[in-house]
């Protein structure tokens, strides 16, 4: 049987579309874990990136921190924290947040640095206070790049939130982890298809966000 056959067998199975182990519920759980992790990562990375980028200080420190965070294996962190703290949501959230902070932080910093200094100059010359320069000039111009950083963080979180299932939680990883231990390859493939689809949907959401949030003037200029 080929991959499509396995996937079809998974999606046609009875009870697949309802109940706690049904696709709608697992999809909801997966989205909830991912959204929470992304929110925490943004709360940490965005202010730090905006301020360091605005002042132009601390770029090297950020680069070192980002490399260090990237080198930490998410899956290893999950197992280690679960062993140290017991089953819980914190051991799931820490690796997911650690995964998304580096891309958001580094791109936000780079985006703020790449804003044309003459724009900032002009705004200051017009007498705008510093916070308005930041919010009304630098932020809108840097937004497309910042969004791309958040997007790659979000996609990595969605892709990696499958590991929550390895420590007893739900989400789409449930199908993959259960399928592997039950030697039910159709289930594994079905779970993988769903995760990939959700990641691609995330890509689509960010494309839409870019259309809505980025000012038309900035978009034309790119």
């Amino acid at each position: 049987m080929n991959l499509f056959g396995y996937a079809q067998q998974f999606f046609d199975a009875p009870g697949r579309w309802s109940g706690a182990d049904g696709i709608p519920n697992r999809l909801l759980e997966h989205t909830q874990y991912s959204a929470l992790a992304l929110l925490i990562a943004m709360l940490i990375a965005l202010p730090v990136g905006l301020i360091t980028g605005h002042t132009g200080r601390g770029g090297n420190v950020l680069a070192v921190l980002a490399t260090a965070a990237r080198a930490l294996p998410s899956f290893g962190l999950l197992v280690l924290l679960t062993l140290l703290m017991g089953l819980g949501m914190t051991p799931v959230m820490v690796p997911l947040v650690a995964l998304a902070v580096p891309p958001i932080l580094v791109t936000t910093y780079e985006a703020m640095r790449s804003v044309d200094p003459s724009l900032v100059d002009a705004a200051q010359g017009m007498g705008l206070p510093r916070w308005r320069v930041l919010c009304q000039v630098e932020l809108p111009v840097a937004l497309p790049l910042i969004l791309s950083g958040i997007r790659s963080g979000a996609i990595q979180i969605v892709a990696t939130a499958t590991i929550a299932a390895y420590v007893s939680f739900g989400g789409l990883g449930r199908y993959i982890v259960d399928g592997l231990s039950q030697v039910d390859y159709a289930k594994v493939v079905g779970g993988a298809v769903l995760v990939a689809a959700l990641a691609l949907a995330t890509l689509g959401v960010f494309w839409l966000l870019g259309r809505v949030l980025v000012s038309p003037g900035v978009r034309r200029g790119r």
């Binding site: 080929n2 991959l3 396995y6 490399t67 260090a68 990237r70 080198a71 930490l72 294996p73 998410s74 899956f75 290893g76 962190l77 197992v79 280690l80 679960t82 062993l83 140290l84 790659s152 996609i155 969605v158 892709a159 990696t160 499958t162 590991i163 390895y166 420590v167 990883g173 993959i176 982890v177 592997l180 390859y185 594994v188 493939v189 779970g191 993988a192 298809v193 995760v195 990939a196 990641a199 691609l200 995330t202 890509l203």
Partner: protein, 219 residues
Amino acid sequence: MSFFDQFFQVPSDLQNTWWGLVGWQLQLTLLPVLCGTLIALPIALLCRRFGWIYPPVLGVATVFYAIPSLAFFVFLIDVYGESDITVEIPLTVYSLVVLVPAIVDGMRSVSEDVRAAATAMGFGTLRRYFQVELPIAVPALIAGLRVATVSGVSLVSVGMLIGNEGALGNLLSDALNYHRPLLAWDAVLSIAVIGVLLDVLLVLARTLLTPWARKATAK
């Protein structure tokens, strides 16, 4: 047994030594990055030569990067079984996705004057690519290699889920099953240290390959 011995003592069910796992980890990480680089160079050349194919290539790359590693592994089990190749192919694709834009953007930063000078000296497209544009793109290429390598090292451990194909990551299943946190520390620290060391090596390589950058900062 001292703490030090325990740290490097791999449980017998993994049928490997600590150094064996490290070697395996390096192989699973570096082989894909190497293959990715070899494939990325001609693709980047094509994108540079025919500018119109770059946006669609970038689109396809973004979609490939969105495929979760675990899902990618699972799809390949069907073809290659639970083997090294199953882990190496997705990692090759990921490094390709990071490297192609890095090289193209790096080459785009080569100024028009330099390209014109090379052409005027009688350089053909290929010679200009290898002797002028590629060396100038080295810092961007290395930046791409750093991301691909460091994230590759930590992605390998996910291979544990598909039948113990995760090198040092295999320590994690034993850590959880036998409740031995030390094994989890071992996996996390070893993987992080390998990642940081590889990163340092790449930075050193960049310094060696771009002597002109050092001269510029020394002035």
